[in-house]
């Protein structure tokens, strides 16, 4: 992939695009909920991926207008600058002889460019020294041999992609002709045979593609072979691009799913924390019985003055706000009594006999209750007898 910082203009465009892509994401993150930022991020990444895919497919299908460029000629009109691009074919006698032949031509400046052919894997792991050393040794052998014959040949190796290395050489060496040397088929440590075609499409100078195989002279592929290289390269590029796209989509999906999971888990944590707090608060409250069973017994409880008074066997009720509390009351008297609390909004008439009643308080507090039926007047005024408290929490 071409570096977005290859030229000032490209770097500026990349930066501008990055800012434009970040603005909606940052705005969504700052002003909206997290999920909105995630959606915007997914949309922005999707649009970018689509755009890259579109451009890539146009390139692969050859729909781009091939505008070739070249710098002005450098030197006198008689001078000729030739760039030879090679790697593993530098081991071939035929190529070295061709280099010597070119270097012998008067007013010809020769530059031998050896791309080190660093794979993505090697670049990622930093294991590029071996490949660079290999390229250096090949270049040195070729230059030494030319030097032995009294010829002046310049040379350089490049760690960049071969096409980019050639582009950079156009800026520094300004060749009038390019010779790309490959095998018939791409070898592991050799240049892609399609490279010559790519250079031809990009630069407005004559480009020769010379093929060297062990023990044979230089050969030039015909148009059909170049077309086959183009097709195979396009198919390979499309396949590679498809795999990269799949991997990219997979990584993107994994990142998005992880973020969604993270957001959901943090929401779950918040909900769990809230329920734990609620549970802790509930645990701190007085216990509430499912059904409170009690009796009303006339003259059933001894007062402090030594006389017996009417009394409820339970006069303290703990209830939850808004939650009905069942009371099973056996009124052993022959007349009705009541649990009446104006503060709690409660008035339950308790008929003689055993019945189940519902006590419901709608707001929290401690409320006094009493029996509103005229019975034992002293007991009606004293909590613990015919009066008591309702605690709603």
């Amino acid at each position: 992939m071409r570096s977005p910082f290859h030229s000032e203009q490209e770097a500026f465009r990349f930066l501008l695009l990055l800012i434009l892509a970040l603005i909606p994401i940052v705005l969504a993150a700052a002003l909206g909920p997290t999920w909105l930022a995630l959606v915007v991020l997914a949309v922005v990444l999707g649009v970018l991926a689509l755009r890259v895919a579109q451009r890539r497919m146009r390139k692969v299908r050859g729909l781009e207008l091939s505008v070739k460029m070249a710098p002005p000629h450098v030197g006198s009109a008689a001078e000729r600058r030739v760039l030879v691009v090679a790697n593993d074919t530098l081991d071939e006698e035929a190529l070295l002889s061709e280099v010597e032949r070119l270097a012998c031509v008067p007013d010809t400046h020769l530059l031998l460019l050896v791309p080190a052919l660093i794979t993505t894997g090697a670049r990622l792991t930093g294991a590029i020294d071996g490949l660079c050393d290999q390229a250096r040794v090949r270049l040195k052998t070729a230059l030494d041999r030319a030097g032995d014959h009294g010829l002046v040949v310049a040379g350089e190796i490049s760690e960049a992609d071969p096409l980019e290395a050639i582009e950079d050489t156009f800026a520094t060496f300004a060749p009038d002709e390019v010779i790309v040397s490959t095998r018939w088929e791409r070898a592991a440590s050799g240049l892609e045979p399609r490279l010559a075609g790519l250079v031809r499409e990009r630069f407005a100078v004559p480009v020769r593609h010379l093929v060297f195989e062990p023990g044979s002279a230089a050969q030039e592929p015909d148009e059909d072979t170049e077309a086959r290289y183009r097709q195979e390269f396009g198919e390979a590029a499309a396949r590679k691009f498809g795999l990269k796209t799949l991997a990219g989509v997979g990584i993107l999906a994994a990142v998005l799913l992880s973020m969604v999971a993270l957001v959901q888990s943090s929401e779950r944590d918040e909900a769990r924390a809230a329920s734990q707090i609620a549970a802790a608060q509930a645990a701190a409250l007085p216990p509430v019985a499912k059904v409170v069973v009690l009796k009303i017994i006339p003259e059933g409880k001894l007062g402090p003055e030594g006389e017996k008074h009417d009394a409820f066997t339970t006069t303290e009720f703990n209830v939850r706000v808004g939650q009905p509390q069942q009371l099973r009351i056996d009124n052993t008297d022959t007349v009705p009594h009541s649990i009446t609390s104006p503060g709690a909004g409660v008035n339950i008439v308790l008929m003689p006999g055993t019945h189940t009643y519902t006590l419901l308080v709608r707001h929290a507090g401690v409320f006094l209750w009493f029996c509103a039926f005229r019975c034992d007047e002293w007991a009606m005024q004293h909590p613990g007898y015919m009066s008591g408290y309702i605690t709603a929490s």
């Binding site: 729909l63 781009e64 207008l65 000629h73 156009f170 407005a204």
Partner: protein, 171 residues
């Protein structure tokens, strides 16, 4: 000793895209920008070998060159879309040899005229021209077709000298 041509770099005057161009579907073609300094000549020639021959002559005359084969069909040229054409935008002179019997080629010429009125256009023209082409060529520098690369280089040199003089007079 080789001498570089003296072309004054002109100030660019952008003209708005005409309605017909704006209606044209956006084209996702974005030719690379120039990587070399002025003077720059864009050569539009459908034939690869002929384009290269002209480019070679221009290179040896001291010009940075870009060779474009031109659009194969209507709407394919970035000049006619909002993307624009970087080589045309930053060229000091344009050589058009697209063969103007095709509407797509005329469209390119029209756009060059409209977008870059200050850029000299050297147009290789057929001996027989219709009225529309005659009108299109107004303000261009016509060169009878077929012109040899040497003729084109000589005309470019003469035109660029003319531009340089205009530039100096303007200053």
């Amino acid at each position: 000793m080789h001498r570089s041509p003296t072309v004054a770099t002109k100030g660019r005057q952008e003209t708005p895209i005409r309605a017909s161009a704006a209606r044209t579907r956006a084209v996702d073609i974005d030719p690379r920008p120039w990587r070399w300094g002025h003077p720059r000549v864009l050569v539009e020639h459908p034939d690869e070998a002929a384009g290269l021959a002209i480019a070679s002559g221009l290179r040896f005359a001291g010009y940075a060159v870009a060779v474009c084969p031109g659009p194969r069909g209507h709407g394919q040229c970035p000049l006619t879309g909002p993307a624009g054409c970087a080589p045309a935008h930053d060229a000091d002179l344009v050589v058009c040899s697209l063969g103007y019997e095709r509407e797509a080629a005329r469209e390119v010429l029209r756009e060059l005229h409209t977008r870059y009125p200050a850029t000299p256009l050297l147009v290789e023209v057929p001996s027989e021209m219709d009225a529309e082409l005659r009108e299109l060529l107004d303000g261009c520098h016509p060169l009878p077709a077929p012109a040899t690369p040497e003729q084109i280089v000589a005309t470019v040199q003469s035109l660029s000298g003319h531009v340089a003089e205009e530039g100096l007079a303007g200053a």
